[in-house]
Amino acid sequence: MAKKLMKGNEALGEAAIAAGALNYFAYPITPQSEVAEYLCWRLPQVGGNFVQAESEVAVGNMLFGAAATGKRIFTTSSSPGISLMQEAISYMAGAHLPVVLINIMRGGPGLGGILPAQSDYFQAVKGGGHGDYRLVVLAPASVQEAVDLMIESFDIAERYLTPVMIIGDGMIGQMMESVEFPKKYRQQNDPSKSDWALTGAKGRSARVVKSLFLDGKKLEDNCLKLEAKYVEIRKNEVKYELYKVSNKNKVLITAYGTMARICQTAIDELEEEKISVGLMRPISLYPFPEKEMFKEANKPNILAILDIEMSTGQMVEDVERVTKSIKPIEFFGHTGGIVPTPEEVKDKVYEMLKKFKKDKKKS
């Protein structure tokens, strides 16, 4: 298919169609309402269906019901809306359902604002709902990557029978970039081939999709079954990008999503100034590139790590954890809709270079 210039939100919608996900449930919220505004006419063209739900609580639970059909289904929302889905997300994880959720993050907490932010990292990556479950969390940095991850997320969701969340900030939703869709769109799933979907107890015994296990042992078994999947996911689904990483780097920047692109600009500019900085951009936030990041951090040329986020500092806790604080870690960020600029990133790098060169001399 030819390249198209498309708004991120609309591209996400089209990507779902390309993935054969024709049932969409959503409630309007800025900055992602364009997904619904696109799909409300686009889905019927391809035999799909969009239900505008009464609330995000309902959306979460409609997904739950729709996922049980074995077809591909999804939603899009933004921060407060995602908070309202936490109970349902926990249920779907517990019931081993494949679902794709997109959070086009805005500033919080509370009503906050509608400008782009990355302050829902904890919620997405650590689990905003109750109980022992994890979400696969993917963070695209461009519209094309959003499309690609959207399509792949359905495969991941089905491979492990688990909810997958894509988190992008408001910019991902609002900006237009050129984007390419697969030549061949995927057909909708045929539920009759599923061995878990609810298709009617015809010629087989009845199936149940549930997360209740009143017997502690059985509930523990379910949690261990989940944990076993997460082990597999941690093994197979780690995604990240290294940018200008070399053994000349003095500083390793960690950043994800759009923020990482801004850091790239800073890195490019620093390179012109002969300051070598590398970037590690986790694409999968869960599974987190644990070993990979440790490896990069551990390289002898790296003096320090600079984590940059559009938040007051959330992923930085994982950076601390997985690098075992083997190198000093500094955090820089803006939040609430303010986007750190390449200039600010550079300034922070200058500052760190001064500080850690000095430190080195001292020791």
């Binding site: 239900v51 639970n61 049980a68 059909t69 077809k71 109970e87 349902a88 609810l198 015994s205 149940v208």
Partner: protein, 256 residues
């Protein structure tokens, strides 16, 4: 017993052989049977998907021979919507208690009914939260004692019981809304007809359908099973009139 024996009443096919966990005399069991018989008689079992509530009937899937999923508390109508919109060819029903449907799930049931989702809801109103130990429900009767209203429901603070059938019947979107009861054999027979009609209308893709059924909770009411049936007659029935509140097959008002 001599020749030509003829079974004129037996366990419906749509029910499994499992013994329920319900308390002795709890009419959840009767309502289960009416649903199962309706599925049997309309031949819907093999296309049916039930949605279990959170409440005493949370384990309902153990008792039915059809596919089931288990909703979050109150959200069964949202699950049913999601499922039915994605598989319009299947038969979907929710089975919900009064805490589930009339309290936490108010928004979901009103909106599903209003959108005219083509599924069926069996609403079991026993005027109390059975599963969690007998707390006050929105449907609890005035002055009824519960574990969170030990002096009886105070209508000046908690308001009057909500009549869901009446409330839902105000919606303009066509639907089938009725209230039955199971405290006498006669009422059981009548309610069976309502439930069967609700499923038939769904099968004909006509409309959303909901049957509210007055039920008992001997355990939490603190009344023996037969006394509980009497309590329905004396206390619930006058406040919750039985009948059809909305019927797509009748002209407006005809049924009331």
């Amino acid at each position: 017993m001599s020749s030509n024996p003829n079974t004129i009443f037996k366990r419906p096919e749509s029910l499994s052989d499992n013994i329920t966990h319900y308390c002795p005399g709890c009419t959840h069991g009767v309502i289960h049977r009416l649903v199962a018989e309706s599925l049997d008689e309309l031949g819907l079992r093999e296309r049916a998907v039930g949605v279990a509530p959170v409440g005493c009937s949370v384990l309902i899937y153990n008792y039915f021979n059809c596919d089931f999923m288990e909703a979050a508390h109150g959200r069964a109508p949202a699950l049913a919507t999601g499922f039915k919109r994605t598989r319009p060819d299947m038969i979907v029903f929710t089975y919900q208690g009064d805490g589930d449907l009339a309290s936490i799930g108010m928004g979901e049931i009103v909106h599903a009914a209003n959108r005219g989702e083509k599924f069926t809801t069996i609403f079991v109103n026993n005027a109390i939260y059975g599963m969690t130990g007998g707390q006050k429900a929105p449907t609890t009767m005035p002055l009824q004692k519960t574990s969170t209203s030990p002096a009886g429901r105070d209508v000046t603070k908690a308001g009057f019981p909500i009549r869901m059938a009446e409330l839902l019947a105000t919606l303009k979107t066509p639907s089938f809304i009725a209230r039955g009861a199971v405290h006498t054999p006669m009422h059981i027979v009548q309610t069976k007809k309502l439930i069967k009609k609700a499923f038939r209308l769904q099968n004909e893709n006509k409309c959303f359908s909901l049957v509210e059924v007055l039920s008992t909770c001997p355990t939490n009411w603190g009344i023996d099973p037969n006394g509980s049936l009497q309590w329905v007659t004396d206390n619930m029935q006058p406040y919750y009139p039985l009948g059809v509140y909305k019927d797509p097959e009748k002209k407006n008002g005809e049924e009331s």
